[in-house]
């Protein structure tokens, strides 16, 4: 009886790993694809003006809307929780200077899209030490604007 109880507990934990962690991996991949594409789409709009920043936000949001919207949770849920931050830099983004609403739009050449989703947990929520209804998964993508070069915008990381 004791052996059965221990074995069932281990089995439940393994099932939790398979179901919940597997789901989180899928969501991470989906969010990463969105972050990369959205940052690239936004980087094209950076032209050193405040309007450019607004258009960058709209360009990123456009990929989560419409008939061909990118989604998460095995392509079933709309991506809604993401933010854009901007920074200046020469060839690469200046470290630790990301701002969501930068004062100096003229200097902004790089955009970072950070997207997150709360993945519902099914079995891991009962595991001692976790006991959460959902686990937050985040992904981020960075792209830069390089006007005048062959590729006007490029993914950085």
């Amino acid at each position: 009886m004791i052996v059965t109880c221990v074995a069932l507990a281990v089995l439940l934990a393994l099932a939790g790993l398979v179901i919940d962690v597997g789901r989180m991996y899928i969501v991470k991949s989906e969010l990463q694809a969105f972050a990369d594409a959205a940052s690239l789409n936004a980087a094209f709009e950076l032209d050193g003006t405040k309007d450019g920043l607004s258009r960058a936000r709209e360009a990123a949001a456009a990929l989560a809307e419409g008939d061909h919207a990118m989604k998460w949770d095995m392509g079933t849920k709309a991506i809604s929780s993401f933010k854009l931050s901007f920074t200046a830099g020469d060839g690469k983004p200046a470290p630790k200077s990301w701002q969501e609403t930068p004062d100096d739009a003229a200097a902004c050449r790089f955009v970072k899209v950070t997207v997150e989703a709360a993945v519902p947990l099914t079995l891991l929520r009962v595991v001692e030490g976790i006991q959460q209804d959902a686990s937050k998964v985040t992904a981020s993508g960075t792209a830069g604007s390089f006007p005048g070069s062959a590729n006007a915008a490029r993914l950085i990381e």
Partner: protein, 140 residues
């Protein structure tokens, strides 16, 4: 209880637990394999869309050969696969990959595909979908 009766009880318990455990493991395999396959599809579609986005801005249509190359990349992770190349997910063919050409975007999605999880099948149609802006050219 004598030894023979105890053996009989143990056998019955084993048979009963075997059913439960085998069902549990089958379910775990099913879910795990489906998740693994879908994750591979997401990566393949992402790579295909990124590759397709190398087309210049404003491409109202793309060269059929380029379109085929993109589909091969999604299916085989290789734009020029060899004769022995295997699809990233068993059963995936070029007919299951759709390339949608936008004004300045390339969208790749999977159509009418089933992930065969041995015990049941997961229908995949219109997902995963990945859109990338065309990056080759100076449209702006």
């Amino acid at each position: 209880m004598n030894i023979r009766a105890r053996r009989g009880t143990a056998l019955l318990e084993f048979a009963g637990s075997l059913l439960v455990v085998s069902a549990a493991f089958s379910g775990m395999f099913q879910l795990g394999y489906s998740a693994y396959s879908y994750n591979r599809l997401v990566s393949a579609v992402r790579d295909g869309a990124r590759y397709a986005s190398l087309q210049p801005y404003g491409s109202a249509s793309v060269d059929p050969e380029f379109s085929r190359t993109v589909k091969r990349l999604v299916v085989y992770s290789d734009p020029k696969p060899g004769a022995a190349a295997k699809p990233v997910v068993p059963g995936l063919t070029e007919q299951n990959v759709e390339l949608i050409v936008g004004d300045r975007t390339m969208t790749v999605t999977i159509r009418n595909f089933q992930i065969d999880g041995l015990f049941s099948k997961l229908n995949v149609d219109g997902r995963p979908t990945v859109t990338f802006p065309c990056t080759n050219g100076t449209g702006k």
